[in-house]
């Protein structure tokens, strides 16, 4: 246990007894909040630029539109912390809900025509996500294939499977239960937001306080050392891939409810935004570093920027350039506030 915590770049060392230990812990704490000043600056700016921005309805709408991205970013962050990649998450966002919907829909609405109850469809959706994660995990962990390349291949395969399965059709006419997460609210906030918040809270807690979470940081930091320390590296990584796949499927369901249909390119290109959110939130692409709080601030930052750009009615031709520019500036701000080199 002591071995593990020494190896792990855990966000809070178990016993920061020495002065140096305390300082490092403080620095880490700071690092995970590095993006907060940029986020605050943007919110203030938003409030000044537009009267609507700070209204309750608009803030809720930012959260609602970020929920799906948050769940997929959570999945990507967990896998990244373990030192691996999963690019195929964006295709899981499409194919898992599509599969779940097609077993429910009648043949006349582009379904398989077996018309299972929607509860079963939702279950199949989650299981499909987990199975895809398991396949990725098997290829990367057991067969030792390069995670980047193999999940890139999976991204293409899964997208192709979805287009093939649906024959390119957009799935409309889903039962209401497929939309509930995005359309029902609790305390005025969509269920999808609560779900994403809960998922982040649980993941954050496990990473901080649970054996498995610490093991994940250790593996991401140095898998060989982690193995020597007695961590069951393969099992933890497999688990992370499976959880990641299921989270991406859930993100897909949230997106389905938000959009009201499943197009064959649902989630297409999303992985760029997901990685952007994770990385500007301080998740290291090299593994072993980053926190859930950081990843969440990354998601929120992107959500706020997108919302502001729409509200401000920026000339459409310039939106991408400004969007990218704001991400760049945020990165610089977080570099300044954290005082640490990014990696």
């Amino acid at each position: 246990m002591t071995d593990i915590s020494a190896l792990a770049e855990s966000p809070r060392s178990t016993q920061p007894t020495t002065f140096r230990g305390a300082r490092t812990a403080l620095l880490r704490r700071f690092r995970e909040l590095a993006l907060v000043p940029a986020l605050v600056a943007l919110v203030v700016l938003g409030g000044l630029v537009n009267d609507t921005f700070l209204t309750k309805a608009n803030l809720i709408s930012i959260l609602g539109s970020s929920a799906a991205l948050a769940l997929v970013t959570l999945a990507a962050s967990l896998i990244l912390i373990g030192g691996k990649f999963d690019l195929s998450l964006e295709s899981t966002v499409g194919i898992a809900p599509a599969l779940g919907a097609m077993v429910v829909l009648p043949a006349s609405a582009a379904g398989f025509g077996i018309e299972l109850p929607s509860a079963v469809g939702l279950l199949i959706m989650l299981v499909a996500g987990a199975v895809i994660g398991a396949v990725n995990g098997f290829l990367v962990v057991k067969l030792q294939l390069n995670a980047f390349i193999v999940t890139l291949a999976m991204l293409i395969v899964l997208r192709g499977l979805q287009v093939g399965m649906t024959e390119g059709k957009t799935l409309f006419e889903m039962p209401e239960s497929f939309f509930t997460l995005a359309t029902s609210t609790f305390l005025e906030v969509p269920l999808s937001v609560w779900l994403a918040a809960a998922a982040f809270a649980i993941a954050g807690f496990v990473l901080r306080h649970h054996r498995v979470g610490r093991a994940l940081y250790a593996i991401g930091g140095n898998p060989a050392a982690a193995r020597t320390a007695g961590i069951r590296v393969d099992r933890v990584l497999m688990g992370v891939y499976i959880v990641g796949g299921a989270l991406a499927a859930l993100g897909g369901l949230v997106l389905t409810g938000y959009v009201g249909a499943i197009s064959p390119n649902q989630g297409d290109g999303m992985i760029f935004t997901v990685f952007a959110a994770a990385v500007i939130g301080g998740i290291s692409l090299d593994g072993g570093k980053g926190t859930m709080t950081g990843a969440l601030t990354g998601v929120l930052l992107l959500g706020v920027v997108q919302n502001l750009l729409t509200l401000a009615q920026v000339k459409p031709f310039w939106i991408q350039a400004i969007y990218g520019g704001i991400i760049l500036v945020s990165l610089m701000v977080s570099r300044l506030t954290s005082g640490k080199a990014q990696d």
Binding site: N50, A110, F172, A182, Y258, G260, D268
Partner: protein, 355 residues
Amino acid sequence: MTIRILLPRRTAATAAAVTASLVLLGACGSTGDSKGNTATGDGKAGKTGVVLPFLTSPFWQAYNGYVPAKAKELGVSTLPTVNSNSDAAQQITDINNLLNQGVKGLVVAPIDSAAIAAGLDQAERKGVPVVAVDVAPDRGKVAMIVRADNRAYGTLACKYMGDKVKTGKVVQIMGDLSSINGRDRSEAFRDCMKQNYPSIQVLEIPTEWKAERAAAGLNTILNANPDLKGVYMQAGGVFLAPTLQQLKAKGLLHPVGDPKHITVVSNDGIPQELDAIRRGDIDATVSQPADDYAKYGLYYIKAAMEGKTFEPGPTDHNSTIIQHPDGNLEDQLAAPLVTKENVDDPTLWGNSLGR
């Protein structure tokens, strides 16, 4: 001594280098040299290749379904359709592959109006006629361009909406501004509003044809402008579901005729849009004729393969052929506006499509 040893070596090296470059030069060529290499007489003579831009929209999916049926009707023999999957470079490769298979005609729906030029040049060198569907190429020779006037879509939608809304705010959910069709619809709608309905303010949501962008954008716009009067969706196939979903979530989905109804005009004419018109969720859609795109794409390629040519002017199918400044002809197919009055018209492709 050293010099005497070095000299011959250097000479030898130079000679070798020169020889090597000569060999390389000899091997050099251009992709244009392949003229006359066309594989012919292998039993595939007279085949037509059909290239699709992507298959992930209900519209192109419908087009893809119409191709074999219309080909049979017209007696054109086609190879299975090829899907370029939104990749302009892949589309050039697809065209090359088809040419190497010895097709005698090509019906291509370009992904990009400029990037298609390389593919058109290849076809021209091999003497294979090309009909462009949906997108008019900026450069290059084609036998005919078959498309509906996308500027007319924007104008048609603007006039219908303008007459209903008269004053206030409307939003247009735009496609990808790097695509010609997205640009045409956006500009035409904006210009027509400015010219004819100065008291209407046009808000915009750029989406790159992505449903989730449309949903998030519309949600934000509705927060900021609860007095919104109208929505123009540039592609019903992509934006119908997110628009209805957001209106529903905000409690703003009232049937046509209700004073609180937000006017929604769409574009494409897929069956789900026609259903939404019947329900009174949306007011109108511009039906982009997927069946005619397939039919006349094949009709003109057949004519071109037989060596027939056409002149600018009205056609026998309720459309007009116009001539572009670069000499290419374009048959501007009619794209009818569908409202509650004519939504059950059996000639609309959205009604005849077996879902």
